[in-house]
């Protein structure tokens, strides 16, 4: 679903992210871990062509589309539909005066989902199923963004991705603004979607403990460079780079 080779993201002369290799297959979860300024979020955004004013070189394929050479029209076909972005605070991106159901219906229309007969049912059916898949009550579609909690907003963002037929979710610290109990629910939802739908997940996080419980593979980034990568169990149990060891020792 995601294939990256020799990705370099530059702001002026400065390389802020240098990723030689990154692959995420169907049903896989790969995590990029690191601290502020490591380039982990920049890497994630560059995969959808969302880094402004940055110069990007290398080879990036997301859902079979060559992101760096694709036309804006072709990019829009994957962005937000087949490849969905889930941010830290989705509430900030939800229009405050629009009910969540209306918002989701608009998104479906914009991407032409549920218009062709037999393509997964009517918009209403698609919406109900998506909301159910993230363990939310259908009633939430009648609410306004300020009437829901942070955890519900995050699950709604994931439901929106499901409704639009996402095959891969790129999530930037999706649970770090949430209480631990709520985080556990969101993580359970993401795990379920991987197992039941073969959804691919690229997760950016600073939380190594969380990453160790859900990721198959891990990339550790520091100052824009990948310092270590490999199977999560190996990297986190037997880190070979001093920085990975430092991160692990810092866990309270």
């Amino acid at each position: 679903m995601i294939e990256v080779r020799d990705l370099k993201v530059r702001y002026g002369a400065r390389v802020v992210a240098d990723v030689p290799e990154l692959d995420v297959g169907e049903g896989e979860c790969v995590a990029i871990v690191g601290e502020s300024g490591s380039g982990k979020s920049t890497t994630l955004l560059s995969l959808l062509g969302l880094t402004q004013d940055a110069e990007i070189s290398g080879h990036v394929r997301v859902c079979g589309v060559d992101v760096l050479t694709a036309s804006p029209r072709r990019l829009r076909e994957i962005r937000g539909a087949r490849a969905a972005l889930v941010m830290q605070s989705p509430q900030a991106a939800l229009s405050p005066a629009t009910r969540l159901g209306v918002l989701m219906r608009r998104a479906l229309k914009l991407h032409g989902v549920g218009t062709a007969p037999s393509a997964g049912g009517t918009p209403d059916e698609i919406m109900d199923r998506a909301v159910e898949a993230v363990m939310l009550d259908r009633e939430i579609l009648r609410r306004y963004p300020h009437e829901i909690s942070g955890g519900q907003a995050q699950r709604f963002a994931i439901a929106l991705a499901i409704a639009l037929g996402a095959e891969v979710i790129l999530a930037d610290e999706p649970t770090s603004a949430l209480d631990v109990t709520v985080q556990a629910e969101v993580v359970a939802v993401l795990r379920g979607l991987r197992e039941e739908r073969g959804l691919a997940l690229l997760l950016v996080s600073h939380d190594l403990a969380l990453v160790s419980t859900i990721a198959d593979r891990v990339l550790v980034m520091k100052d824009g460079a990948v310092v270590e990568s490999g199977p999560a169990a190996r990297v986190l149990a037997e880190p070979s780079h001093p920085y990975t060891r430092e991160l692990l020792e810092a866990l309270p």
């Binding site: 601290e35 909690s149 955890g151 209480d179 631990v180 556990a184 190594l208 986190l236 149990a237 309270p252």
Partner: protein, 289 residues
Amino acid sequence: MTMLRAERVTLGYGRRAVVHDVTLDITEGGVGLIGESGSGKTTLARAFLGLLTPMSGNIWYGDQTLKKADLRKFRKDVQPVFQAEALDPRMRIGTSIAEGLPRSARSRVGELLEQVGLDPDLAARRPHQLSGGQRQRVVIARALAVGPRLLILDEPTSALDVTVQARILDLLASLDTERLLITHNLAVVERLCRTSHVLFAGRVVESGPTADLLAAPAHPYTKALRDAVPRLGGAPPEARGRTEAVPAPSGCPYRLRCPLAAPECERPPALRDLGGRQAACHRAEEVLT
């Protein structure tokens, strides 16, 4: 020795109470206040700082209530440590720290910076020229300037990177002031607080030695909090109960979220003693086993 004590305190904003009938001592060895957003933990901290007057009940400072106490002395004894954003962006670091010092003691700024592990030369800088971890250290130095006996810390490390957080926790553990720590992070409490209180919907649902609380919780909510924390190489965090369920307006406030809820939970549970700790749950014995 108990320095501060909340006695049957109800707190709120306007007429709306958000903390209900809480009795809690700040004892030696560090005290943790644990809870989710909206649990009332920051409101309780504000009352302990004398920034919020209780709707009913009292905050005791030694043998006086805060209403009657000598506030000049109180403010020297009890200092808040908030997140680093609270520093005045226009003020030099040294000036910020010296504000709390008498004119004759201004030379102590360098010493205080060293005490929190910073280079004294940073006194000439402004907050934006420092990293997040350095700014948090400055906030701690500023609180230490007046020689307090108790620090009240509200999520002192939650905005920091893990490696920076670890060093700030080391610093806090090394100080010989008492501390009340407000956080949602159980691992932080485990390190810095001998005693902990778990708040749910403005009520204390469990109190006791931190180690006991985490090893064998007696309240289903404490258990849910503990089991939701991801552990390195452990099983995925468990989601217990529906977090979107609102606190019940009557009976046990946790019952709509609780996997153990039974008809008896429609009666409000009182905090009761369970061998060295208290829990407010009709079914605490079952949770413990």
